[in-house]
Symmetry: C2
Subunit: 398 residues, 2 copies
């Protein structure tokens, strides 16, 4: 039969994320495309011991029954405390909920807020997974140019003034995907003030902020939140494991309670046993020490990739110097075709994501590509950057 899909779904961009994951799954390909953390950071020995213990606990059957939609309380307690003590987020009127990765927090929030045609203002370029979510919910996404210290605030205010039905501003405040840029504290304050002035919400997506290995700490935008305007989406993918599919949302209690209701209409909750495993892991082991070990690994990989880029890339090509996270943004000169570069690199065994995937509203050529350094080995970084530099020369006609 001919399927009649919903309007937003029918017009949702196909490809993108899933294809990137599939491409990266080919072991022969040098994986600069994915957003995967390094598998050597997964604390499998510790998780194994805890899982085995939990299976034998008297309340083990309860961990295989239906659980609370808001999440397993000991895990929520740990994250609530950590966010309060280390990052200054969470006021008495806030609540925290466990979600299926940070992505599901974005999805549930967007579904609560967006009617078809409503506007989201987003950094340009921005995370393609969020663009998919926004499209699925029928939002119209308007881009605001991203600068090395955050959104162009004049452009943001112009859009707030011009656009009707703006529901929220979407920002990835720290080590942004795809650019690696971090929004400065000053700009965080100004974005918050603008959101107040125009009475819109802020969706702060912050999956990488724990992975800082240089530069000065910047607290989450959520820590400025006085009136329940900021919805914070966090992730355990980069500090524990992405395969466990766990993240968290922190927001005004009213929003979280309603979000839990909405999740009863979706997947109900995350794997309960693994929420308990994660809670035990965090309570028994020193998460800061684990993160420090991750950072040490990623720092050396980032440094290596930056060195190799500096050594091999032709003149006219710039790249970001992120203080953390997983991504470097390779900016080609205006007029260069990054889709062409990504295709050529793929033919030569290097997977990268072209800038066009990150453009709100789609289509616009963005002359850059996103590079991930956490997944490849050091040898792959060396070989991959050399190949990529050759391909870049070819695309630039040098």
């Amino acid at each position: 039969m001919d399927y009649r899909f919903s309007k937003p779904f029918a017009s949702m961009p196909q490809g993108g994320g899933g294809d990137v994951l599939k491409m990266t799954a080919d072991p022969a390909t040098i994986p600069f495309a994915a957003g995967n953390p390094s598998a050597e950071t997964f604390p499998l020995k510790e998780l194994r011991a805890i899982a085995d213990e939990l299976f034998q606990r008297e309340d083990a059957p309860a961990l295989f029954q239906y659980g609370q939609t808001e999440g397993y309380d000991p895990l929520r307690d740990f994250l609530r405390q950590r966010m309060a003590q280390k990052h200054g987020t969470g006021r008495p009127e806030d609540e925290l909920m466990i979600t299926g990765g940070g992505q599901q927090a974005i999805d549930l929030f967007t579904r609560m807020m967006i009617d078809p045609g409503d506007v989201i203002l987003a950094e340009d370029p921005t995370f393609m997974g969020a663009l998919k979510t926004f499209a699925f919910d029928g939002a119209r996404v308007v881009g605001v140019p991203m600068e090395p210290d955050g959104m162009d605030l004049n452009a943001l205010e112009d859009q707030l003034r011009q656009q009707k039905n703006v529901k929220f501003i979407y920002v990835i405040t720290t080590f942004q995907n795809p650019t690696g840029y971090t929004t400065s504290m000053e700009k965080r304050r100004e974005i918050y003030a603008l959101a107040q002035r125009y009475d819109v919400m802020i969706l702060e997506d912050n999956p990488y902020f724990e992975l800082r290995y240089s530069g000065e700490y910047v607290p989450p935008l959520k820590s400025l939140d006085e009136d329940g305007r900021v919805f914070f989406a966090g992730s355990l993918s980069k500090i524990l494991s992405p395969g466990v599919r766990m993240g968290y949302a922190q927001a005004n209690r009213q929003l979280i309670e309603r979000m839990a209701q909405s999740r009863m209409a979706s997947d109900i909750h995350c794997n309960l046993f693994f929420q308990a495993v994660a809670a035990e892991y965090f309570n028994r082991f020193d998460l800061d020490a684990h993160i420090a070990a991750c950072c040490q690994l990623y720092r050396s990989k980032r440094d290596l990739m930056l060195e190799e880029l500096a050594a091999h890339m032709p003149d006219g090509v710039a790249f970001s110097r992120p203080d953390g996270g997983l991504f470097i943004w390779l900016a080609l000169p205006q007029g260069s075709n990054s889709d062409q570069l990504a295709a050529l690199a793929a033919q030569n065994g290097v997977a990268v994501v072209p800038g066009s995937a990150f453009v709100p509203g789609g289509c616009r050529e963005n002359p850059g590509v996103r590079l991930n350094y956490s997944t490849p080995t050091e040898e792959q970084i060396r070989r991959g950057v050399a190949i990529l530099a050759q391909c870049t020369r070819q695309v630039m006609g040098k």
Copy 2:
């Protein structure tokens, strides 16, 4: 700030499912309200041994990395084969995907299909979780009276003729929630023929069909599907564990591929390690033997509840005699108030779900309550039915 929710979300019914789970979580309450399988059926010893083994396998880190959105292949293979061999579903053009419970299969399908205002024809009464999902997606749900052998077909055809923009017919074909009724093979054929004639799809929600402990086997409606019209939502909650949050969808490949794309915009995939644990469990142990043991347990609980209902309920009260699944429907005489009965029972320590929760379109009084017999102990069944009978007399003024 004042939150401006999306229109469907703002008008979505609050309460219901989540509250039922919370109410049932109080150990002092006799739990006739939930849809939980019995915790003693969870094969924890086997899962523990498998988990421990998988943690030590060479490819263990890959089970903590991002995985395939469609699900872990060995688990998909197992379910695909089982469905083909035992239940006659899955044609060459069909595909199977792992989902976050059967509920997420319903949700992802509905989001793909429904624009605000589109119509879903559903059994009346029907599963309140699905009603929440449909409301969240802005669907208009029109009820078709449920009879002991399935939908009233004249009423179904009337609605197909009258309603505009019907996207699909929603049926829980076997041991329906909340009635316990099973749609006959003849009615399955006629529902399929009507769907063809009016060119609409069918969402077959079938989370209990493996739990048959009396009566004659009826194949899924999906087994009749010749033109990719039936979307099948299955669940592992009742044959493995609900806390692992795993189900599956089987449908035309085109739908499953697009659904995977849409899931990239939501929670991406289920806990990957536990998909592997489930796959190993199913491949090593005899699932039919496990299901037979579950059925033996549930059969004796069902029989006990039916006996107690027959012994204690006043004249004028009827109840269904399901051949499997988890629920008995207690039908009060017309004019009785089942909300009042549920409230009174709750005050007396027995949780049941009133019929009004299951009514498409909400509001209409449905003079019945849903009873679950899988969760309570035998002693709770005896005590609970006696209390409920007293409350029923009181509400009926006897």
